[in-house]
Amino acid sequence: MAQLLEVIRRRMPRVRAQMAQTDKPTNRRMRPQPTPVDIAPDDPLVAYFLDTPEAVELERLRLDSPALRELKAAGVAIVIPLVSQGELVGVLNLGPRMSQQDYSSDDRGLLNTLASQAAPAVRVAQLVRQQQIETRERERIEQELRVARLIQQTLLPKELPEMPGWQLAAYYQPARAVGGDFYDFLPFSDGRLGIVIGDVTDKGVPAALVMATTRSILRTAAQEGLATPGDVLARANDLLFPDIPPRMFVTCLYGILNPHTGALVYANAGHDLPHQRQEGGAIELRATGMPLGLMPGMSYEERETILAPGDSVLFYSDGLVEAHNPEREMFGFPRLMTLMADWEDTVPLIERMLNELASFTGAGWEQEDDVTLVALQREKQACAPLTPLADVDDQADDGWQSLAAFETASAPGNEREVIAHVEQALAPLALPHKRIEQLKTAVAEATMNAMEHGSHYEADHPVTILVRANATEVSVRIRDTGGDQTIPEAHTPDIEAKLAELQTPRGWGLFLIKSLVDDMRVSSDGVFHTVELIINREGEHHANQNV
């Protein structure tokens, strides 16, 4: 046989044929490289081969075929198509015989026999090769997913911060394709806690790398809690925007929790709204803002909510609300809102959500996206709001009669119980209604100050209240355990400055106290801090004239 040419596989956009020609077959080093000839799927030669699957001398073919012209130009004399199961899987191309004689009918018969045996073998080889390529591709994807998972899991918090009076829980389950979910906790030195939850568009390694970058940027921008959540997101957006790959962005919510007061200040860059479970139902925590990385120079609205004892907030990713059941219905926000409103804390919040998700999606659910849940819960007060005391007044002042002595746990809202108790204690004195209302407001504010600034809302630092009266005055002493603390100078609130945003909207408490009582005496002994409020039993008070 003169020159045997290679067979190139079918099942590709083109059949590629190569021919090796040799003038001196014994000298392999002198062989020229085969010239590949591509045969397009729509080339008339393909149809001819399929119709006539036997050796053919090209000089005898009359077809308007680019491939035919190329084969002739390459010196191919005879072509034997390799057809298996009705498909052209390759061709054998032969050059002229070394003897310069034509191929005989025996030669063609031998070549046809060879082709009939080679074609199935070539087909099998092609399938094996295809499978090897697919296997390598699967392994490459799996390796990439392993890397993506590793990046994510390395950067997610290993431990949950511990805060007395609070429960924190987190759950992260990546989808098989690994999305870009992340969460983070930033404990600040003053006791506050930064909470981050986010989601990068796209999946796999690109999403994981953007997630890692975003996490680092947020940690830097947070500045030990000195920057507000809105400023942090704005800064992160500007840093992320120049380098984020096209068509990618990051949704992210950042909040700072003050565990003493229960205040959660937050801003949102297009992330799913957290839900707060509170007495009487559930609410969405709304704040507007564009996702990170879409446009530079964005600003982010800041909002604040207060978590009362027993309240919870659920932060989550879209893998929860966008999960589908077998009927292709979505889990959805209304279902989440109902679950939050109905949740009883006999079962942990995250466990409750996962049970509902499993029940909704049914067995055999293929998770479509990462599912990330972060639950924050303020524990209920362990002690009763008020505890009667025998008497906390160790100074026997002539003429003063003790009407009530009790203590209250330092928790937001407990001042309501305190003023109700004070009013009850003063009932026998039959003070004018107006005077009672004024004293109640002053006592409420002083109690709130004591619980927040003196006891830092710590349950084991209660505030004690002593109610006394003499012939002309009523005294209410409010005592906390912040006697060793320096009391900051309070600014006099001014409504015009506040409306012009030159002063904080808050900061009315001390002003109200001074305005509503006849005298206020403050003392500290290194352990206890005491505020004594005094009103005259008769007539109008006049202290506010000096405020």
Partner: protein, 120 residues
């Protein structure tokens, strides 16, 4: 802890005037509910919002701060905040804090609605 429940419902007087009926306590805890009601009242539009304090049971300095926050937000949008139904005590608090100079305070709903209509 004490009962801190608050409910607010929105009544639309006309296309530009809404009343928010307050029932319960105005403290810092009331912010989500107040902002929800405010959003409901201003969608699709409202020029004036009237707070009905008839059902107010308790308001502290946190609640006053919340009202100021609402006013700042409304001032930015050139919206008007009015109020009626304050008890004598909270009327006094509004006077002490001079909130009554920034908010139109009226004795009755009709008076507040009439004032809002005049200011269009």
């Amino acid at each position: 802890m004490a009962d801190t429940t608050i409910t607010m419902s929105v009544r639309r007087v006309d296309a530009l005037i809404c009343i928010i009926d307050i029932q319960g306590d105005i403290t810092a805890f009331a912010e989500p509910e107040l902002m929800r009601a405010y959003t409901e009242a201003t969608e699709p539009s409202a020029h004036a919002i009237i707070l009905n304090f008839t059902g107010l049971e308790y308001m502290n300095s946190g609640g006053i701060g919340l009202i100021v926050t609402l006013m700042i937000r409304m001032n930015r949008l050139k919206q008007r905040l009015l109020a009626f139904g304050l008890s004598d005590h909270y009327t006094h608090i509004f006077e002490l804090t001079r909130l009554n100079e920034a908010i139109g305070v009226y004795p009755t709903e009709n008076a507040a609605v009439a004032a809002a209509a005049r200011e269009r």
